[in-house]
């Protein structure tokens, strides 16, 4: 063995290289305070290893970036862990970098003869921040997309060259495939290459001047190997443990696929840029223009850093540097704290909205994952269409925008929010449509008509209270229910009532209410047509006013009467037709009670379809989820107490 190594050394001279690397003297002995540089090298090593493996599965384009990251995160073996390590080691790198920098400044290690090395370090910091920025976009999720847009828009306001720089970086005037290919080339090729080159210089120059010993008389002289290496290794182990714990218990987030057409109100930069984000929100900063706050001020800070070794030549220059650094650090910590407080702990309207937006974003992220894992999978057009075409995602938004000014959905606006007008809860003026068309709904129409339509008393139609038109008329459904409620609720008529409900619900043909009890449906049909009751009788039968063409039959049972036609009641076609124009003859065409506008001209067919499918529960829900929420509210983002700690 020895012979072989001698041979190798003779040919390569490796011993000298290894000796040079390992046997560096440390005046004052190995100390814990010297570990920071090594932990930084270690986090970079983590990034290179996990980054290369992620590279084997990542596909940079607008239709595959999110999708491949989703696949890494949710399907591939240990993908979540590789991505988690990469995600959290990136943040650890920024933290360690700041510690390293502060230590160098406070200890005066930037002063002559180490100025050049200090500047090399600043270059390295710039590269690391560049890596963070470019990496944040690569998953092409809502969070990264909108946060990075801010950064590139800031580039765009750089004086003189902004527009050109922005276009070059983005690969065009807007985000697209080339934004990703360029960011990826920067992130995985150019920047790491530069980092390695400058890190090599940084370490070489460091070795030339030796370690900046804090206190050479601290202990007898030590050696890098093995004294300092053991301490460095333990520190790296602590960093690794932290990164692993964060990966396991928190995990790298993947929000919904980037969608320029869907605003992302929960957008925030990475937490270590929050101070800058918060700084730009000050109105007095904004007054000076975006370039002032976003470019000149950070530029001045960088210039201050670069000038430090020169300032230190003067008497008290070092003290000045340290004092300014401390003040700046305090400002940055303060601004970061302020931003976090405002987002997560303040009760102001904006803060509450932000937290709701974050919860909604988590909801969307979970939903798109559910759809991607569903039987239809991700189409070749990409996952962004999954949420765009999802009734469960779009239905509530359409309901909130178009219906919730009058109707409610289980008391809220469809998206889980209470409808507010001028700071107060606005009263509904039309029926609550949560559970529309269900057996419970039909039963309520038959025996609790007054309650279902009570909100109509909160509005007027052409000067008359709508509730009076709807609820106080003896000759319509309200009057009929008033007259027959007790009869229907008699225990003897239980079966007749249930039959009537079953028959009416069966007319919808809805699959979410199937199977229908055929015997009960037949019984109900008899009640509907002939008013057959076990006890008591109807003064007028359903069919006397309501016509219906029973599902599956060619001929209508009767003739259009004075009340809405119940053919296909509460089914897809019926609901579409009703929303399109409730005033047609088959719906509320008779009488003057209809107060609902026709949506046929204002609601696009696509939105109508999504709204109706949502109301009819016609969308994919994973088996696991549906067993979970069988009897709970189907859609509500705020009901779930999903809040994320910053």
């Amino acid at each position: 063995m020895k012979k072989l190594l001698n041979w190798l050394d003779d040919r390569t001279g490796y011993r000298e290289v290894v000796n040079d690397a390992l046997y560096e003297s440390i005046p004052g002995g190995a100390r814990w305070r010297y570990v920071w540089g090594s932990t930084l090298v270690f986090t970079f090593f983590l990034q290179v290893i996990t980054g290369i493996f992620l590279w084997t599965a990542y596909a940079p384009s607008t239709q595959t970036a999110w999708e491949s990251v989703y696949y890494i995160q949710n399907e591939m073996t240990l993908g979540w862990l590789v991505r988690g390590i990469h995600h959290f080691a990136a943040q650890a790198m920024v933290v360690l970098l700041v510690i390293h920098l502060l230590q160098v400044i406070i200890d005066g290690a930037y002063k002559a003869p180490r100025e050049v090395n200090f500047w090399l370090g600043i270059v390295l910091m710039g590269i690391v921040l560049g890596l963070s920025l470019t990496g944040y976009l690569l998953p092409w999720d809502q969070k990264g997309y909108y946060a990075t847009k801010v950064a590139t828009n800031i580039m765009g306001v750089t004086p003189a060259v902004g527009t050109e720089v922005q276009q070059i970086v983005q690969g065009g005037s807007d985000y697209g495939h080339h934004t990703l290919t360029r960011f990826f080339a920067l992130h995985a090729g150019i920047l790491p290459g530069l980092l390695i080159a400058f890190l090599g210089l940084h370490i070489a120059v460091f070795r030339r001047h030796g370690i900046h010993a804090k206190d050479p008389s601290h202990a007898p002289e030590g050696m890098f190997w093995p004294d300092q290496i053991l301490k460095d290794a333990v520190a790296c182990l602590a960093v690794l443990a932290t990164v692993l714990l964060l990966s396991i218990y928190k995990g790298a987030e993947l929000s919904a696929p980037a969608d320029p057409s869907t605003p992302y109100d929960a957008a925030r930069p990475e937490w270590y840029f929050l101070f800058l984000f918060r700084f730009l929100k000050f109105e007095f900063i904004d007054k000076f223009g975006l370039a002032f706050g976003a470019i000149y001020i950070p530029g001045a800070l960088m210039l201050f850093l670069v000038m430090m070794p020169i300032v230190a030549i003067w008497r008290f220059g070092h003290q000045l540097n340290v004092a300014v650094t401390m003040i700046l650090t305090a400002c940055i910590v303060g601004l970061t704290g302020l931003a976090l407080y405002e987002d997560w702990y303040s009760d102001s309207e904006a803060s509450v909205k932000f937290r709701n937006d974050v919860a909604a974003a988590h909801h969307d992220a979970a939903r798109v994952r559910e759809l991607a894992q569903g039987p239809a999978g991700i189409p070749s057009s990409g996952a962004v269409s999954l949420l765009r075409n999802d009734p469960l995602t779009q239905g509530p938004k359409i309901f909130a925008a178009r219906c919730a000014s009058c109707h409610r959905f289980n008391g809220h606006d469809g998206t889980g929010h209470i409808v507010m007008v001028e700071g107060e809860e606005a009263p509904a003026t039309a029926a609550d449509l949560g559970g529309f068309g269900s057996r419970q709904w039909v039963e309520d129409i038959l025996v609790n008509y007054q309650e279902v339509f009570a909100p109509t008393r909160n509005t007027t139609k052409e000067g008359t209270n709508l509730g009076e038109l709807f609820l106080d008329d003896e000759y319509n459904m309200a009057g009929w229910v008033k007259e027959h409620k007790e009869t229907l609720l008699m225990p003897e008529n239980q079966e007749a009532l249930n039959g009537l409900i079953e028959f009416l619900v069966a007319q919808s043909g809805r699959e979410d209410f199937a199977p229908y009890d055929e015997a009960l449906v037949a019984k109900g049909r008899d009640v509907f047509e002939n008013g057959t009751l076990a006890k008591g009788e109807f003064s007028s039968n359903c069919l006397d006013c309501h016509d219906v063409k029973v599902r599956g039959e060619e001929e209508a049972l009767g003739f259009p009467g004075t009340a809405p036609v119940l053919t296909g009641y509460a089914g897809r076609e019926w609901l579409k037709s009703f929303i399109s124009n409730p005033a047609t003859e088959q719906h509320y065409g008779y009488g003057d009670k209809n107060a609902m506008p026709a949506f046929e001209d204002s609601l696009p067919e696509r939105e109508l379809d999504l709204l109706v499918r949502w109301m009819l529960n016609d969308y994919y829900v994973s088996a696991e989820k549906s067993s979970h929420s069988e009897d709970s509210d189907h859609q509500s983002s705020t009901d779930e107490s999903e809040t994320e700690d910053p």
């Binding site: 000796n19 040079d20 046997y23 560096e24 003297s25 270690f42 090593f45 983590l46 290893i49 996990t50 290369i52 493996f53 084997t56 599965a57 595959t64 999708e67 491949s68 989703y70 696949y71 399907e75 591939m76 073996t77 240990l78 993908g79 862990l81 590789v82 390590i85 050696m223 190997w225 093995p226 004294d227 290496i229 053991l230 290794a233 333990v234 790296c236 182990l237 690794l240 692993l244 991607a372 039987p375 239809a376 999978g377 991700i378 189409p379 070749s380 996952a383």
Partner: protein, 194 residues
């Protein structure tokens, strides 16, 4: 260059402490360096560690067990000449699900017994698509001249096995259903892929 510590005359305690320092440096250094490498390599071995999802690609009215409707009896010549037929089904490629994609092809023909036979058109030698040569009534591979009879048997020793015959069903309405399957190329046994 500094003097190397092991060259210094050292007391036993110092040297032992020095050894323990080196020992733990190597152990901990090894742990922190190898952890990301092992995690990453496991991730990289995903193709052999994880069973992939297969798309349900059966057409409506399928007799089950993965049969696909590919043609109808009426489309096959009565004289037993094979017909080249593309196979389409749903495909999962990593994160994407593609609906009704071409995944391969088969040769369908009426057999002398009046049934229908189906052969995967993939040559078992090295995976090229064989062609049917009408003049010799044989299948011939354009790559390395593998040749097969109409019943799939080899006529030379180039391919390691006969052509892969597939299960076929003909329903009452004359539709032909094939259970499409690919097999490992280049070996004498039939080993199903997936």
């Amino acid at each position: 260059m500094n003097e190397q510590p092991q060259n210094k005359p050292a007391e036993e305690g110092v040297s032992r402490r020095n050894f323990m320092t080196k020992f733990w440096s190597v152990v901990i250094g090894g742990i922190v360096s190898l952890t990301p490498v092992v995690v990453g390599l496991t991730f990289f071995l995903d193709p052999i560690l994880r069973k992939r999802k297969v798309a349900g690609g059966e057409s409506a009215g399928s007799p089950g067990e993965g049969f696909l409707k590919v043609s109808s009896e009426a489309a096959l010549p009565a004289d037993g000449t094979p017909v080249f037929q593309q196979i389409r089904k749903n495909v999962i490629d990593a994160w994407n699900t593609y609906i009704d994609q071409p995944v391969g092809s088969v040769y369908l023909r009426k057999t002398e017994e009046g049934g229908v036979s189906a052969f995967n058109s993939e040559c078992p030698h090295l995976g090229c698509t064989v062609s049917y040569v009408d003049s010799s009534k044989q299948y011939k591979c354009p790559c390395h001249d593998s040749k097969f009879e109409l019943d799939g048997e080899r006529t030379n020793e180039i391919p390691p096995r006969p052509m892969d015959e597939l299960d076929v069903k003909v329903d009452e309405s004359g539709d032909i259903w094939v259970k499409f399957q690919s097999y490992k190329i280049g070996v004498s046994e039939q080993i199903p892929k997936n």
